[in-house]
Amino acid sequence: MRVLVAGIAGKLGRLTALRLAAAGHEVEGLDRRPWRDAPREVRVHALDVRKRPAEDVFRRFRPEAVVHLATVAQLSLRTEDQLRQNLAGTRAVFDAAHRHGASRVVFVGRHTYYGAAPDSPLYHTEDEPPVEVGSLPQLADLVAADLYAASAFWRFPGMRVAILRVAYALGPSRRGLLASYLSLPRVPTVLGYDPLVQVVHEEDAAEAVALAAEKGLHGVFNVAGPPPLPLSKVISAAGRKALPLPAPLLRLGLARVGLAPLPGLAAAHLQYPVVVDDRPFRRATGFEPRYDALATVESFRHGV
């Protein structure tokens, strides 16, 4: 199968491309960022998915499946550009995929879609609306991209569209939202709150994305790895030291005094859990994570 990966230079993009290529698929990728040590069989185009030349890649390569990983989660960098990347990029990818005959699109979103609140249930199911979007405006962009991607269900009725809401990916690459949070010199937490956190090894996440493309999944699916752990255990297993701060102090942004700024994880996400139910995805694909929670966090810790 010919697979085009948008956002191929990201952590998950690379692993997904490698996994697909290893399975014998023909893989090409788009990304503004470079991927210098890409294997020879994976062709990477240094293009922005929103720009015209990117569509030429669709036209020439004619992918059968498109994996869209080009949403931005660096929530601390809130710019107009990010908004455009998440929504306009999603539109461009779906439209080009449709125009050039792709029959499958996999949109890779995030499980933070559901939001964190004291009354949000453990194990969110796909039918739930997002809660508490207002408390974290940066999150609203990603929620909007997730909901907008779902418009493909009625815009392109013949297309197989999978919208994945993936838990925090973590692994030796030490990239991603949770990784940059855990890499702070002292990891700020909210005093008196120790929410459950779902981590999935980045290789398992890539496996899940690849499976969604291979199986031509259709619908919205949560993707998670092993059962969740309390945040404090994730921090200590990562060999890090937590810095518990009272919630009001964190909210006032005083956490910045002598500390790196919090990378976009608002206080609510450090107080209350976002835990998803991934049973439908497992049933549909047979997916089983290979790494347990401890092994996942330790792979981040040791970089292997």
Partner: protein, 267 residues
């Protein structure tokens, strides 16, 4: 830091059927370590302070989903703790009863996480359904916070029941084990409920006892479990049908409460 665990608690913990992961947490965030110190702390209160006696525990299924449904009495839910202790100390093999705590609790620093680590999740219908579908033992007080708000003279009565628990039982095809707990109304005899003070602290109310704070005195407690009831239906029935089922469960609990109070006075 390891907190001391009573040998009896440790033995029982090993027989508990929970799926603990590599760091001792089950998928709902129940902590093995916390169960250890919590039950060790609860043990002297359960056995000596309240001299709790349990009757009819053989009515609780040894495994698989079930709902323990009973009365509240006493200004603070000590009855919940004692029923959880009963399921742990007086069942063979022991089971962890999952209660449903009020939503305001999850928002209180430290308290919310302690509740979760002890298997007490926020009272959301989603949690109740998930725990039952996971073949767990659910603890339900259909009187809710109105039940703990009963004042001393009303301790042996029941206030109105919510109806959600019957729909839940039908929807998940779970047996209901009715129970009654007598004595906790004497342990924490509320003379009034300070609602304004409660709101100030983020709780519905703070019960006031003759000695001020709602600190329990050592009253004897008797818990009686009745025969399991299996209701038939889908949970989508009209309110009228559901209310009849609620009334039948309520009547069973009323009878059990009389029995529990009688047994309590006899010793």
């Amino acid at each position: 830091m390891r907190t001391p665990v009573l040998p009896e608690v440790d033995r029982r913990l090993r027989r508990l059927e929970l799926r603990f992961g590599p760091l001792g947490f089950d998928p709902f965030g129940v902590s093995r370590d916390q169960l250890g110190w919590s039950f060790s702390l609860l043990w002297p209160f359960y056995r000596w302070y309240f001299r709790t006696r349990v009757h009819g525990q053989e009515n609780i299924p040894t495994r698989g989903r079930a709902m323990l449904v009973g009365n509240h009495s006493g200004g603070i839910p000590i009855d919940a703790l004692l029923v959880i202790a009963a399921a742990f100390f007086d069942l063979e093999p022991p089971r962890l009863a999952h209660g449903m705590v009020d939503k305001f609790v999850a928002a209180i620093p430290f308290v919310g996480d302690l509740a979760r680590g002890f298997g007490q999740l926020t009272g959301l219908p989603e949690h109740a359904v998930r725990l039952l579908e996971d073949e767990q033992l659910l603890l339900v007080f259909p009187e809710g916070a109105r039940g703990t708000a009963k004042l001393y003279p009303d301790r042996l009565g029941l206030v109105d029941f919510g109806t959600g628990f019957v729909r839940l039982a039908l929807q998940t095809k779970s047996p209901i084990v009715p129970f009654a707990c007598a004595g906790t109304g004497d342990a924490v005899p509320s003379v009034l409920n300070a609602e304004r003070l409660g709101r100030l602290l983020g709780a519905p109310y703070i019960p006031i006892t003759p000695w001020g704070l709602p600190l329990p005195r050592p009253a004897r407690v008797d818990i009686v479990f009745g025969e399991a009831m299996t209701l038939s239906g889908t949970g989508a029935e009209e309110d009228e049908v559901i209310e009849r089922e609620v009334a039948s469960v309520r009547a069973r609990i009323e009878a059990l409460l009389e029995e529990a109070e009688r047994r309590r006075r006899e010793r």
